[in-house]
């Protein structure tokens, strides 16, 4: 019988490492396999972070679920920063703010309804893109054209995979393998 304290620490570290590796892999997939010739990449990481936030808020232990979702946002954002050559922390901050907004707004909602993930991704992506624009674009930002050319298409592209990803994630998080992610 070993000391249970170090063992728990090891398990926690292993889970955290697994979370980081999973998010780095997802970010890699987003920037390589999911880019389109039109200049838009399917925002896999942002959509998953928002869906994870919703599932975290709706979980039996919302504190734990939301904490995990926020760590997804940090790791996924940092991975995107490394891959997208943006200042380290820019994507992470954008994702964290989007996750916080979604968590705050969805507290009293039943996340199982299909409209909830769609609305959450719509709002979350909007916040994510706005924060990212403020952090990475040189001023002055031409907001009217930026909205038409970047913001609206990005939000629409994000909505396409939302429901499949949401229900897939819910299923995976319900399984033993992904229970701790």
């Amino acid at each position: 019988m070993g000391d249970p304290q170090p063992r728990r620490l090891e398990e926690a570290l292993a889970r955290e490492l697994g979370r980081i590796l999973a998010l780095v892999t997802l970010a890699l997939i987003q920037v390589t396999l999911l880019t389109t010739p039109l200049g838009f990449a399917v925002p896999l990481v942002p959509v998953l972070v928002i869906c994870r936030t919703l599932l975290g808020v709706g979980a039996a232990f919302p504190d734990l679920g939301l904490g995990r979702a926020l760590r997804w946002a940090l790791y996924g954002g940092l991975a995107l920063d490394v891959l997208a050559a943006t200042p380290l922390g820019a994507h992470a901050l954008a994702l964290l703010l989007a996750a916080i907004l979604v968590a705050a707004l969805s507290r009293r909602l039943r996340v199982e309804r299909p409209a909830v993930p769609l609305l959450a991704v719509l709002l979350g992506t909007l916040i994510y893109e706005l924060v990212l624009a403020l952090l990475t674009q040189r001023a002055p930002i031409p907001w009217s054209s930026y909205t038409i050319v970047v913001l609206l298409p990005s939000v629409l592209v994000a909505l396409v995979p939302t429901l499949p990803l949401f229900f897939l994630l819910r299923r995976l998080l319900g399984g033993q393998l992904f229970l701790q992610l």
């Binding site: 890699l28 920037v31 200049g39 504190d63 920063d81 891959l83 922390g89 901050l93 031409p142 038409i148």
Partner: protein, 284 residues
Amino acid sequence: MPASGRPFVLALGLCLLAALLVFLDRQGLITPARQTLQQMIAPVAQRLTALRDGAGDLATAPRGAAALEARIAALERENGALRNQLIRLEQARVENEFLRQQLAIQRAQPWTLLGAEVTVRSPDAGRRVLTIARGSREGVRPGMAVIGQLPGTPAALVGIVEAAGPHAAEVLLITDIASQVSGRVMHQGRAEVGLVQGQWQRGSRLQLGQIARSLPIAPGDPVVTAGLTAALNLPFDLAAIPADIPIGSVEQVRVAEQYQLAELRPYVDPDQVRYVWVILSQDD
């Protein structure tokens, strides 16, 4: 809903951490660490990008004899049109003069090119940036011009090196709104220098501005780099871009006060390139 305020305290802490990282990276304090991580991930990213490009080729390749015949017919039509265009261009004295000038400049300033594979394209729709698998160890420096070529296009400017790590570099594409380079438009033997700015975030691709109204430019006029960015006193370190790199051609012209503005079609679509060349000897 969360039972306590703990997640929001965690959120605040993580936001502060992210903001601190942004600040430190902007100060250049953790940029080497980011570039090292980028370098570690680059081989995997490069393979995945190649995989995706291969899949794209497979999806868009013509299938069956009928599709191939149609493709050949289209190419023959395009070839004929290009030949006609070439004859017209060759007959134009001014264009000949320009080509001689260009040739003279190229002879006087031989460029040393460094080939580089595109590893990652920016996942953000709001930024036109790509990462290439060459860096400062191979002589790549910020401000260097990056050219590309697609089938049927001349080798043309696609971007400028914005930052260089040891084995990877970030290239700001000319279509990004932050990209500004001096360009020279030619029309009937005359040339005028203006400013070529990216317009992707404004719904277009390139715009040529600050062209005096005394030179009537028209659709089809070619635009090349002027190599005069420093003379225009722009707040960017782009003075080393060589002159006479093709950029694109004029599509539409409109007049704004005492200047003309022209929408440009880039010769090479920066979003389509998979392999680029960095002009290393731009100072020669």
